[in-house]
Amino acid sequence: MLTRLTGGALYDPARQINGEVHDLYIRDGQITAAPEPGTLVDREYDLRGKVVMAGAIDMHTHIGGGKVNIARTMLPEDHAADPVPRTGLSRSGCGHAAPSTLTTGYRYAQMGYTACFEPAVLPSNARHAHLELGDTPMVDKGGYAMLGSDELLLHLMATGTDQAAINDYVAWTLHASQCLGIKVVNPGGISAFKFNQRELDVDEASASHGVTPRDIIRTLTRAVYELGVPHPLHVHASNLGVPGNFTTTLKTMEAAEGLPVHLTHIQFHSYGTEGDRKFSSAAAEIAEAVRRMPNVTVDVGQIMFGQTVTASGDTMHQYANRRFAHPHKWMCMDIECDAGCGVVPFRYRDKNFVNALQWAIGLELFLDIDDPWRVFLTTDHPNGAPFTSYPHLIRLLMDRSFRNEMLTRIHPDAAAHSRLSSLDREYDLYEIAIMTRAGPARVLGLDDRGHLGEGATADITVYNPDDNRERMFETPAYVFKDGELVVRDGQLVKVVYGRTHTVHPDYDPSITRRVQRYFEKFQTVRMENFMIGSDEFSDDGRGGLVVHTGRGRSEA
């Protein structure tokens, strides 16, 4: 079966194609070279006048696992406002802040997204996360395993274990949890909170282990780098949401000591303490640091006004933020000497000074950071806003007059405190394609995604150009997943299941005996049952597993 996509304008930054018209050919789910003249084309789509990009990739979105399901449980009133009926094609569910898994998959595809990555997979909850991702159709998926507040790593570090053994433990964790990367959340802080520490800055030693967040970041960035895991250590820095935290963020960047590191939802970590309200934007300082440190990538975690829910592993700060819960209910959970989670529903208000400035800070970061290869478009779904707000966010970035119009609606003091009105930059389609496709694919090591070159997986999104960029990105003309048409004019036409991506770096298996002893002595499950077998992905007919390595990859 040969499919031709004819005459579309391609935005394919990985190959430096900026709006040039090329035909694309698809065979067996992949983009293929133009066939010999005279070859029979089975199916043709006329894309003249349309914009063609690779399928979009969300590299940080909380869509599956324990904390997301707790958020769903806590928000029946939010679901009731967005019921999703079943159709002949698709299952029923609910949407908005914490959508059901099936709806999540449908809606991502309807926006032209073909891959999503859950950034906070507790190894002790990884099987659960994968079960939810398994029930999330339409997209490829994967997760980042959380380390850094697990008692075993902290113990290994506190007792001076050498880097090689720690690398082995990190590799074991990736295998055991079937994840694509390693995430650290408030390094050491989730553990410290269990020992009743309520704050922990980068150079502060935890009372329990005497390990600092800086030690943890240095050790884990190095482990990830030395193991050849493509995605750099994914860092949710210390002091989330705390006024003045930008200095913490700068120290966190430096703690990587030049090795690749990704700082996530950086908007929540770019706050100063200037002004009467002791809350100000430090976006300029953060953007300058990103410019200065080429080893650093970030995603923004933009907030949008309205009701949402925050779900995070950072129990220390979720507990501290409980008083802002709206509606007024919140939960925190300590989990298995592994990590934790906290869920706090939240409503961002445009007339609230702090919320309005958070909104402006996120946009300042997008506009100040001049390298779109190193800044990715996220709302930290659902923490800053539901992922369905992406088209609106894209319009804010691409359309200065629209942005300035929105700026007039927020709290006037916040608008006055922000440099936003003076930032003239408008993203173009090429830059949007970088930050939503080519950039995330590169930072995740997904060589055959995020571009339209020969051999790429045929995940392709086609848009009708529209000066209203929100409308354009909300309703793609066509979305192809693995070469099959799955969405037309924003409507589902076929339900498919994507694959789960994991990385299996080589390691010295002798670490397993140590981990096994730890489990037998202290844990309430056996290591043998804790580890997720690759066969657990093949039994349910939902797309299976793609195993990446540091050097290449093989399909399992």
Partner: protein, 427 residues
């Protein structure tokens, strides 16, 4: 899968018959019979012992699986208000049951729905601070248990969690005290290395007892001298212990909390815990009983957004924790019941005149013969699968320990779905 008649041994076997989901069992299997060598308890012993011949029945008469599926499809596919209850199954079973329920527009509830929702109402109304088994084992220096009968529901809780042989925070284990609040005056605490203090009380008085403790902890005046029985002076040492604990844990399992307002007792407990966290750390552990309750809750929540007691009749999920209990649904005009109980032989369908299809263990007990009975395999014995533990976080792979011809709930539910779809398809 083992087929030999020689005995086979298995290690690290998870036991799916209570909320603890212990996975350290060592078993030997010969001729389809499981012998527990290590890690057994009364509940696993009875759970792994299965009687019954495994033949499907229609109105009490033996039938083929095909015939039983066809009849089940007729009943459920033509029902106007079908209800799915019991839900004693694993993750795969729940996935298939939800797909079927979405197709026929059914309302769903679990056999432990009352208990689940006593907890969920508190989570949905105000939230809570909770913990998991592994944290309790390694960190707690004070464990307070509500209701002496909790130890019957979780036979190995003391051995595996409260008084384990080792803990990461060795000093915490060394200092650990167990306090049991509520239960009959003549209950005697099990022998354990952890010192136990028992405060008998009627279970329906626990809300009052917890509220009194909350007052003492917050140094608030209290009108009563003898809240829920004990004198205030008798409660002061416990209030003191709770205030001083470095990491205290309060464990409850809602079925043992008497009265119709279990959620109030839970709310008193979670409010007390919230206050204790102002200065120190303290956490709740609401333990779900098992019988597939956590698996059903989790899958239903991620697929529909709602934690069971959800009705799919309108074409989209509608949640009502009050009106959508199985009992209410049956009384309110349900015209077909699909009942599922693959774990627990005593959880038969309710005594109802509503035509009933049962997918259950071969030895499931009935009040009377249902219209259709399809014996199914037991997850973790007859087939593999995944189940969630009672602390809601951990899920474990269940294993097939013997080979049987019994189909899984997932397979039967899918067959019924296909049967209904093929019947509806235009000729």
């Amino acid at each position: 899968m083992p087929t030999s008649e020689d005995p086979l041994s298995f290690e690290h076997v998870p036991c799916p018959f209570c909320g603890l989901l212990c996975d350290d069992l060592r078993v030997r299997v010969a001729d389809g019979t499981v012998e527990l060598l290590d890690g057994g308890c009364p509940r696993s012993q009875s759970g792994f012992t299965v009687a019954g011949d495994g033949a499907p029945r229609i109105a009490g008469d033996a039938a083929s699986l095909d015939e039983a599926v066809r009849r089940a499809g007729e009943l459920l596919g033509t029902a106007r208000r079908p209800v799915v209850g019991g839900l004693g199954t694993d993750v795969a079973g729940m996935r298939a049951v939800l797909a079927l329920s979405d197709g026929i527009g059914a309302a769903l509830d679990h056999v432990h729905g009352d208990s689940l929702h006593a907890n969920l109402r508190v989570l949905q109304d105000r939230g809570w601070i909770t913990t998991t088994l592994g944290e309790v084992r390694n960190r707690a220096d004070l464990v307070v248990v509500l209701g002496s009968d909790l130890f019957d529901a979780f036979p190995r809780l003391i051995e595996r969690v409260i008084a384990p042989s080792s803990a990461m925070q060795a000093e915490a284990l060394q200092a650990r005290r167990l306090v049991v609040l509520g239960g009959p005056a003549d209950w005697s605490a099990p022998a354990t290395d952890v010192p136990v203090h028992y405060q008998p009380a009627a279970m329906e008085d626990l809300a009052e007892l917890l509220s009194a403790l909350r007052c003492l902890i917050n140094e608030r005046p209290l009108q009563a001298d003898t809240p829920a029985g004990p004198t205030l002076d008798a409660l002061r040492p416990l209030a003191e212990q709770m205030s001083q604990a470095s990491y205290g844990v309060l464990i409850w399992s809602t079925p043992s909390l008497a009265g119709t307002h279990k959620d109030l007792t839970v709310q008193c407990a979670t409010g007390l815990i919230e206050d204790l966290n102002r200065e120190r750390r303290f956490a709740g552990l609401p333990l779900a009983l098992g019988d597939g309750d956590m698996s059903a809750y989790q899958v239903c929540t991620w697929q529909t957004g709602y934690p069971l007691r959800v009705d799919l009749a309108g074409g989209f999920p509608r949640y009502d924790p009050y009106h959508l209990s199985t009992a209410r649904s049956l009384a309110d005009g349900a015209d077909a019941l699909l009942w599922i109980s693959a774990f627990n032989p005593t959880h038969g369908p309710p005594d109802t005149q509503v035509p009933t299809v049962v997918l259950g263990r071969p030895d499931l007990q009935f009040p009377h013969q249902p219209e259709v009975f399809i014996p199914v395999g037991i997850p973790g014995l007859d087939h593999g699968g995944t189940a969630f533990r009672g602390d809601a976080v951990v899920s474990l792979p269940l294993r097939a320990l013997r080979s049987t011809s019994l189909p899984s709930v997932a397979a039967v539910a899918q067959a019924i779905s296909e049967r209904i779809t093929s019947t509806e398809a235009p000729c």
